[in-house]
Amino acid sequence: MLELNPQTIAFFIFAVFGLGGALGLVTTRNLIHSALYLILSLFGGAGFFVLLSAPFLAAVQVLVYIGAIAILFIFAVMLTRGMTRLKEVVNRQWWASAAVGAILFALLLTGVILPVWGDGGTNPNQPPTDLVATTEDLGVALVDGNQYVLPFLVSSLLLTGAMIGAIVVARDQEVS
């Protein structure tokens, strides 16, 4: 079914990174280790973007997620002292949570993935064309009046708002 070419091997490596990192993240007691597992998982995601011919998003993933968000998480872990090694990692309803996760996965499997499973699915399992839109097209689309210029500006506004809100919330009161 699957031919064993470098691309498939790369896919499986990144899948192991992504899923292994995710499992490590939710099960590890030490929060710094959790953050590093998160980085591993995000790295797997970046690899997927490369395989999906979206290298720009892969670079963004490394630059923003690993270089900025993960660093912010590590900062936050260090700032909340004594919380790195809790005795009990999970709450009492963890088995219910696990059941919810499993059921969700099963639902996704039957609802979304089964229709495209195998060659007989309704949706294509092979991309229609090898021609893909480039970063330049993305740039044109982002500032085109008929396409994404409004979301582009609103996202800037959202980030400004997020930053102002976070500064207000996070600052020590005695500083001001």
Partner: protein, 102 residues
């Protein structure tokens, strides 16, 4: 190329693990990390569908980029709230934050 459903399975797996983490972890920072995991699974889904369905159209990548923005805003605000709570309660365990319970 690797068929579409394999990407979808990995993304669905990451999303479900993220849901488990959000529901079961006690530490607020770990919960936020799980949320990031879920958002990342969503981005993988968006990009996979973009590549296999409309690769010449920009929408998939543009939406993925906006999800990045949302993820960044979520992390910034969420962690700021966690820090504020920690300053007042000396704890980041979500069950200890029950001020509104009366």
């Amino acid at each position: 190329m690797v068929p579409l459903w394999m990407y979808l399975i990995v993304a669905a797996g990451m999303f479900s693990i993220g849901v488990y983490g959000v529901l079961s972890r006690r530490n607020a920072v770990a919960i936020l990390m799980s949320v990031e995991l879920m958002l990342n699974a969503i981005i993988i889904n968006l990009v996979a569908f973009w590549r296999y369905v409309t690769p010449t159209n920009m929408s998939g990548q543009a939406f993925a980029a906006f999800v990045f923005v949302v993820a960044a805003a979520e992390a910034a605000i969420g962690l700021a709230i966690v820090l504020a709570i920690y300053r007042n309660r000396r704890s980041t365990v979500v069950e200890d934050v029950n001020l509104l319970k009366g």
